[in-house]
Amino acid sequence: MPDSVLWAVDLFGRVYTLSTAGQYWELCKDTQLEFKRVSAATQCCWGIACDNQVYVYVCASDVPIRRREEAYENQRWNPVGGFCEKLLPSDRWPWSDVSGLQHRPLDGVALPSLHWEWESDWYVDENFGGEPTEKGGWTYAIDFPATYTRDKKWNSCVRRRRWIRYRRYKSRDSWAKIPSKDDPKQLPDPFNDLSVGGWEITDEPVGRLSVWAVSLQGKVWYREDVSHPNPEGSSWSLMDTPAEAAQISCGPHDLLWVTLWEGQALVREGISRNNPKGSSWSVVEPPTSENGIMHVSVGVAVVWAITKDRKVWFRRGVNSHNPCGTSWIEMVGEMTMVNVGLNDQVWGISCDDRAMYFRQGVTPSELSGKTWKAIVAGRESDRSHSGSSLSLLSAGCFFGDEVRGSGESCAPSDTDASSDAERPGPDQPVPAESLDCPGDPKGSSASGPGTSRTTEHPAEVASPATQTPRPEPRPGPACTPAEVPWTNIDLKEPKKTPSHPLAGLPETTGLSSLEVLPLGLEEPYGADDHPLWAWVSGGGCAVEAHSVLKWFSVQLGLSPSVQTLSLSITPAQTAAWRKQVFQQLTERTKRELENFRHYEQAVEQSVWVKTGTLQWWCNWKPHKWVDVRVALEQFTGHDGARDSILFIYYVVHEEKKPGVRRFRSRVWTWHRLASHAVYIHVFLNEVTALVPVLNEAKHSFALYTPERTRQRWPVRLAAATEQDMNDWLALLSLSCCESRKVHGRPSPQAIWSITCKGDIFVSEPSPDLEDPAHPLPCDQMFWRQVGGHLRVVEANSRGVVWGIGYDHTAWVYTGGYGGGCFQGLASSSSNIYTQSDVKSVYIYENQRWNPVTGYTSRGLPTDRYMWSDATGLQECTKASTKPPSLQWSWVSDWSIDFSVPGGTDQEGWQYASDFPASYHGYKTMKDFVRRRCWARKCKLVTSGPWLEVAPIALGDVSIIPESPGASGNGHSVALWAVSDKGDVLCRLGVSELNPAGSSWLHVGTDQPFASISIGACYQVWAVARDGSAFYRGSVSPSQPAGDCWYHIPSPPKQRLKQVSVGQTAVYALDENGNLWYRQGVTPSYPQGSSWEHVSNNVRRVSVGPLDQVWVIANKVQGSHSLSRGTVCHRTGVQPHEPKGQGWDYGIGGGWDHISIRANATRAPRSASQETAGERSGEQGLPSGPAQVAGALQESLGPVCC
């Protein structure tokens, strides 16, 4: 999970962030302003500064925010001057927008605000729907408005062309002022509170936010058009409210609550995708009539509130259907404010010591959480101040050189913790203050008894932390007597012991404990050592149930000793120990064994057998799962090499099956079955792949040998439990690896592939794999699994491997192996990390129109299921649909998917004349059926040798294949990617030692891209979302991003979807599964001349540094079955025959992706090479399933989606 940050404002108006991975508050990069309020989302933070103006802080990213401005130049033909600017009086403007209705001269297009800058000057767009135009980008038509074509015809009377200019948002990592809403003619009405949310309402436009604000006069305002590409929004709209509002909170989804000055809450109803502003207000009464609601904060399905007596309340029964909830529950603790962040996590600021608390134990099933836990993270500034004096533990001088100026006026002693203390600076405006603490005169001592009724000494009333026996500072009984992890207690010790005079440090014991410090000690601390918080916003802070936060314990400045202690066993030391131990063991073996090797072994090496009961998908019809006994025998040969055989014993009641031998007498416990039991056996050194096949019902795996691969019929076995399956898989895989002497991490040349289940497989290329004369048949390649879950993997021969998950997260390979179900012996001990992935499951709601009731869920008897999968063949109801396998669990509820191809209406419906047909997003007279798509997210958590490359999500990635023989020569490894939004990115600083690289360089494009590939000579090819290709010019190590794009039309009537570039060869794949070779590519003309068709039936292509071509074929027919998604190797690829001649079929059945771009291993030169050309002809022709004779049963491959 990428790091995210919590935003907070201290009493002095300084804005801090705290990373989920960090343990220090960092001062906001832009410190020009002091703030009253902040409200954060993941990509930005809105705030009200002390000048009462609204600002937005957009976090920096490697991908710029850029928007395209466009204008059309229109011309009409006249017999005199040809095409010219002189239009008819009835015509549009010579310079206009796309509709022609608005005048739009190029110099009249201005930047919307100071925070934007132009990226370049205006230029003509020469790309017309994927096709390049000639003659300066003109498109022709008979008349305005009409259909434009790129060709000029005899009747083309008008023409137009599009001018493009990009502007870029420049005020990132700084506070950008949002223009005030105030009408100069009226009295100013500054904003008083503001809340950002609504990012889950809809995905369109990208990064859309609801920004709500409340003014001092109690009016509610909504900021229009705020989204990622338009971070400032466009204007403020006034919303009607029945009463004067005081404070507002907007949740990520459709919750919006407002507090009124009278103490009730207003709840906005009717917020939806189509109406993010909602439609009406409902009133919710406060929990008790005497203490009105002072503050409210909402999440996805929770509402927390603070009443005027500082009590914390949780609203029961809140959800989308009932945004008002049902009743209030009082929670422990007293807070000045609470804030609900992502995942409905909650933060609060206690009222008596202004410390920040995190609500622990908030889970989807227990939204109210368990206890408040103080965040005791220090500040970056403290660290930098104390950095030089780490060793001066007891000197108390960590804080000596703190700037005290403004702080001193409000030294946080208890006596000052009255209303004065709440007013930190003269510049803090009154309105905010009054909202901060309306009941303030009570101060801490007044609220004290409420907090800690158990206290006896009034003097200590306000220091509940010192009262409680627990070490963690908590607001009195706020902490339910939940068990305190013992580590916390113990961690406490070293904090206190070495720094005795610091024992009462406010960070740990709360502000009020200052008063119990000896008088003389007050001085060295100054006033500023403990952050006094005014506001917190968790809207950008993703904390999940399993997140490990470092906010609560070790603190620098307090206990560097603890830090050094916990680091006392470094990885280097561990490695040294290991070496030492290993050395000693070796010495021991030498000492005790060297002269005695001729001695007999006490225990003779026997055959080891692991036996068990599994189910087997039987070889003959009717195919079904049958119970079998399974035994694994291992033999150790005299050379120490091991071989293993897997026996599968099954019982037959009829005569022997051909090809199956009788059971020979063996001493197994089931020998009584001997008369009926027969077996099949598999030599594990022949096994080429072990593939887990998890589905809803079975824990099964498939076992391939070359023969079984050719048959497209693996041995399929199922275990009763996941554990059992993992045990077998781990053991069998270990045995396979041992018999092939494959150990440790994959070599840098390894071939990587991924199944449609997201399982990752890797194969070590043998030197003769790319032998032009006698290539190793690729059904003999041995594939072993590596932990993790990915959709895309790309590698190069310097060991740099990147992956992309289903949720578009980018991952980099760490150099480990194992993980996932391979634990213990089959896994490396380090470099294995938790990995998660998220994908959506889709089902369809189908309806038919009838004249009486309109569209209903009553279909014709011949119709599909009213709840079905995309094909309509399977019934899929919301209740019955399960996650794809037991590894996955639901993480969201069902929601309508509006982003389906063809578009939808406002309720998500798509219309058609009948099932199945093509659907469109609007209703016509002829539409008798409609459907809509429901999506539900599910998540998988596994482990593997992968580390996340945050924060930009990727759609495609490509790493430069190293030319054979070329040394790395110190260049960083060129790596290009396309973000999930279609931005083209170039990674800087990638090397063997730092495979993750350092940062992205954004490469501007005129449209979103889909696929990218970089060849060995820095030829960068890409495919845009419109299906055409682009070539990037002048890319080199010194100019990693190149200079400009050359547009390359796609093959006629085809939209390309993927491109792969090897040493010189360029291959592209279109949406209909056709593979194309780029003809005429030369060093002087790298764009090539034309596309030549190579094959159909292709799903994915990977071209390597030897220009070898590997693909995933859609369907391949074997002797027993058909497999979808099969690894295939192009045969006969020669310098003079770059397209190759045929296909060799390898592992298959559910393979989705392959990367051979790391394999630059040339076959050893042999005499046979001369005859290569002749031989390659004997390979089969490119074949779809239709071409294969003798089609047997058509069944899905074992791992088929």
Partner: protein, 255 residues
């Protein structure tokens, strides 16, 4: 350590070259040749000496044969101690091979337990494993295992099958990633110098301050005498050496 296959293998395949000779007073029909064997350090004497027994029984009369027992330099060897432990404890300073005397008479009832069959060894071994898991995981792991897993563990030891043993034992050696280690480290410290058979205490893998304990810490706490300055063995070295080999038994041995 559990993920370091090289170390595990070396520990597992530790062998002690041993010369078995029949006790001089045993009555034989003809002279008994000494018998040479490589004994696995991690196994038990009565588990791996079938060949020895058979060898010497050949030269003896049937009626003189009763329960076999072993002795080294006058000390009866407890079969329920792992072989490596016996060797390190009693004979590590002597020259190899290790000379063990084989007895068929005068079973030292007060020193040794009877070992009527390999079931007794199995029972003892499994009880050690269970005790260790009680310390490591509150017995949760061992109790969740099936009978066949227990059997596989035992068969792995008995047949000297590293993979078979570790396929199961790794589960016993794992702990949740969020924890720093086992609940308690199962160990026993055997000493020749004291009357106590061994030292055993509850010992957490992580110190109160979150720091990982080393074997040195353990020795300092439970057996300071082992760290006496005069022989000054670096505890880590000596300890880790045997720790890995002994932990699976739930024991840690030092001299």
């Amino acid at each position: 350590m559990t993920d370091d296959k090289d170390v595990l293998r070396d520990v597992w395949f530790g062998r002690i070259p041993t010369c078995f000779t029949l006790y001089q007073d045993e009555i034989t029909e003809r002279e008994a040749e000494p018998y040479y064997l490589l004994l696995p350090r991690v196994s038990y004497l009565t588990l791996v000496t079938d060949k020895v027994k058979k060898h010497f029984q050949k030269v003896m009369r049937q009626e003189d044969i009763s329960e076999i027992w072993f002795e080294y330099e006058g000390t009866p060897l407890k079969w329920h101690y792992p072989i490596g432990l016996l060797f390190d404890l009693l004979a590590s300073s002597s020259a190899l091979p290790w000379n063990i005397t084989v007895h068929f008479k005068s079973f030292p009832e007060k020193d040794l337990l009877h070992c009527p069959s390999k079931d007794a060894v199995e029972a003892h071994f499994m009880s050690c494993v269970k005790e260790a898991d009680a310390l490591k995981h509150k017995s949760q792991v061992i109790n969740e295992m099936q009978k066949k897993d227990h059997k596989q563990l035992w068969m792995g030891l008995q047949n000297d099958r590293f993979d078979q043993f570790w396929a199961i034992n790794r589960k016993l050696m794992e702990y949740p990633a969020e924890e720093n280690g086992f609940r308690y480290i199962p160990f026993r410290i055997y000493q020749t110098t004291t009357e106590r058979p061994f030292i055993q205490k509850l010992f957490r893998p992580v110190a109160a301050d979150g720091q990982l304990h080393t074997l040195g810490d353990l020795l300092r706490e439970v057996c300071p005498s082992a760290l006496a300055p005069e022989d000054n063995p670096t505890p880590k070295r000596q300890g880790l050496d045997v720790q890995a080999c002994a932990q699976k038994m739930g024991k840690k041995r030092t001299k």
